[in-house]
Amino acid sequence: MSSPRVGIYGFTGCAGDQLMILNCEDRLIDLFGAVDILSFAMAKSDNKDEELDVAFVEGSISTEEQLEHLKNIRSRAKVLVAIGTCACWGGPQAMKLEEGGFEKRYKGVYGDAKIAVSKALEAQPVDAFVKVELKIPGCPIDKTEFLSAVSKIVAGRHPYFYKFPVCTECKWKENLCILLEGKFCAGPLTKAGCGAVCPSHNIPCVGCWGPTDDLNVGAEYKLLIEKGYSPEEVTRKITKFSGAEVAKLMKGLELKDMEAKK
């Protein structure tokens, strides 16, 4: 059996996920041995645009040129895997996606300046444009989760990730709940996988792994309001990394809140 043909691509993001792949250190040789990497611009020259078994795509899509490239990758790949929160959920650059008004925001930043590169789009996750078979979220992705998924794909198996919120991992590490201290924490909304790194250092979860399988946005929202945060602040904080997705779930919440106030 020949090794699976793999391509690794980056769009709008910090390239941290590709860097994390290169940072797999002791496993990197195994990785390069198990798959045939045809394209990985960050790591090698001599990249080929050929048929792929698996394409890993980092970053959100924010220009027409990127969109064309993405469609081209999709057309060549049997399986397309979004890696990192930007590719999976849009990342911080997509936090206002649900609000609309991109043209106005764009103008506010760039004015009438002529942009020589490709026409800009509102940043969106990869699956807003093409079919995505698997999402490996994270900011950046976690080595263990990434290698677990790649190993399964190479072996013809289905990757499995924790579907529960990061609170579970946080409890495994015996941390005190930050919410109980009256402080903001996005843990209950956020998928596990990072090993609860931030709360283990007493830093609240900011939600960088994206939404979990079954989040109760309404309950989290209400809880934070009760703790004294303003609705604007709560909204801003919980939509930071996966704004589009969380904002969808938040629709109607404010209405409910206002009704309650009446």
Partner: protein, 341 residues
């Protein structure tokens, strides 16, 4: 049951001695938190702390571990080296919790991973100072008659030491001169005072009487929907509960091979995936259905042959839930048909 007397100041020497048998673990402070961790001796423990974040179940079935290694020739049990461990300072509620787990994991279809760890773990209980979250007296778990190897009741000047097993007795025999059997009239009076004091300390106001019936009557009560609207589905209650045993199992493969491991990790009935079957049907798709299952096990009846509800009144769900859903508030809400603020 053999009950011995020991001078308080001798405890430190005793613990120093029993370290010959195995690693010494106890409740220790880590910043704001109290967790069971390995200690050098008594001075590193905090015996006044009411509860640790996770109960001692973590020693008997770790949060995540490997059950099997496999390759194309089959599955091979992973036997990891489990050290001998002495857990000192376990409170009665947690020993009750371990007894529930013992029954589940050691009786029919003995779980070898649990059994291995259980066998290599000695439980040295210690009396506790209840706080406003403890509900042991409502669950009759404030005292413990069995399930430990030794149990130390602190009576200010000395300890009364219950010897609960042959192995516990072996520890006593390592330093027999520290113990005596001269229990007199004052000791009995002191012990009786201690029992009265302890009962009076438990002030959570929890009342579980008639709960199985109230639970049954209130099964379709809208109270549940109100609770579910608040529930974050974060799963913390299940992780900290001494009688939550649920686990999930996944296979991991090594890169470029069909070899790998079968791993097991703590799961929770609060998660949507918990009752999901292939094809997408979910037997508990709604949060409210998941809440009901947990509280059925804690307050109405655990698994059929155990008969009883499994809550041991440790108060961890009370101390942990960010939105105040716990055995006390749920019991109260069902009883009064109103969700408290």
């Amino acid at each position: 049951m053999m009950i011995l007397k020991m001078k308080k100041e001798d405890l430190s020497v005793f613990l120093e001695t029993v370290k010959e048998w195995g690693e010494l673990w106890g409740p220790a402070r880590k910043g704001e938190r109290v967790v069971f961790q390995r200690v050098d001796g008594l001075s590193q423990m905090d015996l006044k702390a009411t509860r640790t974040i996770i109960p001692p179940k973590k020693f008997l079935y770790p949060q995540r571990f490997t059950m099997f290694d496999f390759d194309d020739k089959g599955y091979v049990e992973r036997t990891e080296h489990v050290p001998n461990r002495i857990l000192f300072g376990i409170h009665p509620c947690d020993i009750h919790g371990i007894q529930v787990m013992d029954e589940l994991f050691l009786e029919e279809y003995r779980d070898p991973y649990y059994a291995e760890r259980r066998e290599k773990t000695l439980l040295l209980g210690h009396s506790c100072i209840p706080d406003d979250k403890c509900m042991c007296s409502a669950r009759d778990t404030e005292f413990i008659a069995e399930g430990f190897d030794l149990f130390f009741t602190d009576l200010k000047m000395f300890y009364l030491v219950w010897v609960g097993s042959s192995r516990g007795h072996d520890l006593v025999r390592m330093r027999p001169e520290l113990f005596n059997r001269n229990i007199g009239r004052d000791d009995i009076l002191n012990y009786n005072e201690y029992r009265k004091w302890k009962k009076a300390q438990v002030q959570s106001g929890a009342d579980f009487t008639g709960m199985p019936d109230i639970f049954e009557l209130g099964y379709n009560s809208p109270i549940w929907d109100e609770l579910a609207e608040k529930c974050l589905s974060c799963g913390q209650c299940t992780m900290v509960c001494p009688t939550c045993n649920c686990f999930n199992v996944v296979d991991e493969v090594e890169l470029g091979t069909v070899e790998g491991t079968r791993d097991r990790f703590w799961d929770s009935c609060m998660f949507r995936e918990y009752s999901l079957v292939a094809g997408g049907h979910n037997f508990r798709d709604k949060r409210v259905e998941r809440l009901k299952l947990w509280y059925t096990h804690k307050l109405q009846a655990y698994i059929s042959e155990f008969g009883e509800p499994s809550c041991v009144g440790c108060g961890r769900c009370v101390a942990t839930c960010p939105v105040d859903i716990n055995v006390v508030t749920v019991t109260k809400a069902l009883r009064e048909q109103e969700v408290g603020k």
